[in-house]
Symmetry: C2
Subunit: 231 residues, 2 copies
Amino acid sequence: MSSSTPQGARARARMEITAAIKDEARRQLAAEGAAKLSLRAVARQLGMVSSALYRYFPSRDDLLTALIIDAYDSLGESAEAAHGKAADAGPVRRWTAVAEAVRDWALQHPHEYALIYGSPVPGYTAPDTTVPAASRVGLLFIGIVRDAHHASALTELAPLPAELRAEAERMAADLAPDLPPATVAALVAAWAELFGLVGFELFGQFHRVVEDREPFFRQAVTRLAQGVGLG
Amino acid sequence: MSSSTPQGARARARMEITAAIKDEARRQLAAEGAAKLSLRAVARQLGMVSSALYRYFPSRDDLLTALIIDAYDSLGESAEAAHGKAADAGPVRRWTAVAEAVRDWALQHPHEYALIYGSPVPGYTAPDTTVPAASRVGLLFIGIVRDAHHASALTELAPLPAELRAEAERMAADLAPDLPPATVAALVAAWAELFGLVGFELFGQFHRVVEDREPFFRQAVTRLAQGVGLG
DNA sequence: GTCTATAACGAGATAGAC
DNA sequence: GTCTATCTCGTTATAGAC
């Protein structure tokens, strides 16, 4: 507390070590998977002793949570950047720009993708602090559809079956009160379906089924956009 | 070879022990995840010694492969049974029957679902022997669309973009030469998208987003069916 | 031939004493 | 923070029971 420089240096050192821990943890994620992520191994690789890590992350689960939030944020940032570049284009172009950014990010960060959209890690449940980062891609899609709606560029969807009406209205009230419930329901479905396409490619289900995946993906997400009433 | 009974008894014992090993392995799968599946722990739980397991599975990976094939077959059987019950119905009804069977099976077997459709197990790559079992659900969908096509009950889809034409023709030649390439491409996409819906529900992405999931899913898969030209 | 048990390897994780 | 003793793991070689 005597001068500001040591404090700043201290804070910077803390951030640097925190970053080094997460980098090493991501390396282990790629090599062994999230289930085997071990604070001890991270510490060993960094030349630290395991107990020292607890000053940065109070538990293995907290480290996992930080990695998950980082992954969602990295994906969200990529998607937002791609969306920004297409901001002046039509809604379908904006939609596919975000979708392709998601796919590109997933192909470049397969292990982090597996961490956030793959099988849950046994014994770990994500806290609510992951929600804002996890929502970023979805919010982009909502924004695109909302803009189209306010520009009267949205195709009206078929009326909802009675059994879904209440739930669709609840979802709309929660996510986008200015959009028709049928549109919101279709949007949430398209959101999940997009990650089905990405996951199948990444996790090997398209092996020997889809070879030329980029045009296949582009066409599929274009049709997803049409399914929610765009274009 | 002296009499048939001892041979039958031996074979039966072998099958029973094989089944017991897989059952115990599935229990571990649920508790610890596929990455931590351990031959020794399985043997211990069964009161055997670890080396004895090698009479039944030549390696840990072979045990994993057996579990994967079993899971695909269990899912495929459920889907085929549901499809059989809807055999007389229209194509959309048959489609949703299969899709709902997939979802039901996934909800009842979450860990086996994670094994086959979740993140890949680090250090393991599935051999080609898993392909037939893995194809069963897809083949059902192809059959449904093919029947609709031959009954002239298929809506024609929009023409394919030029960049996708060659790949769609290749996929069609591989999977269903009697179907239009655009339909095959849409079918493969819908197949992946279906598992996106199921995976999002199972892996927690719908947490606080979709609450009443059954009607939501039904509506979504109905729209997937329409997307490939059914109904 | 078919199976199980013992023992061991090399590697890695872990708990506790210091 | 370090060291050590003791665990785990997959896998193999070998010996013997049925």
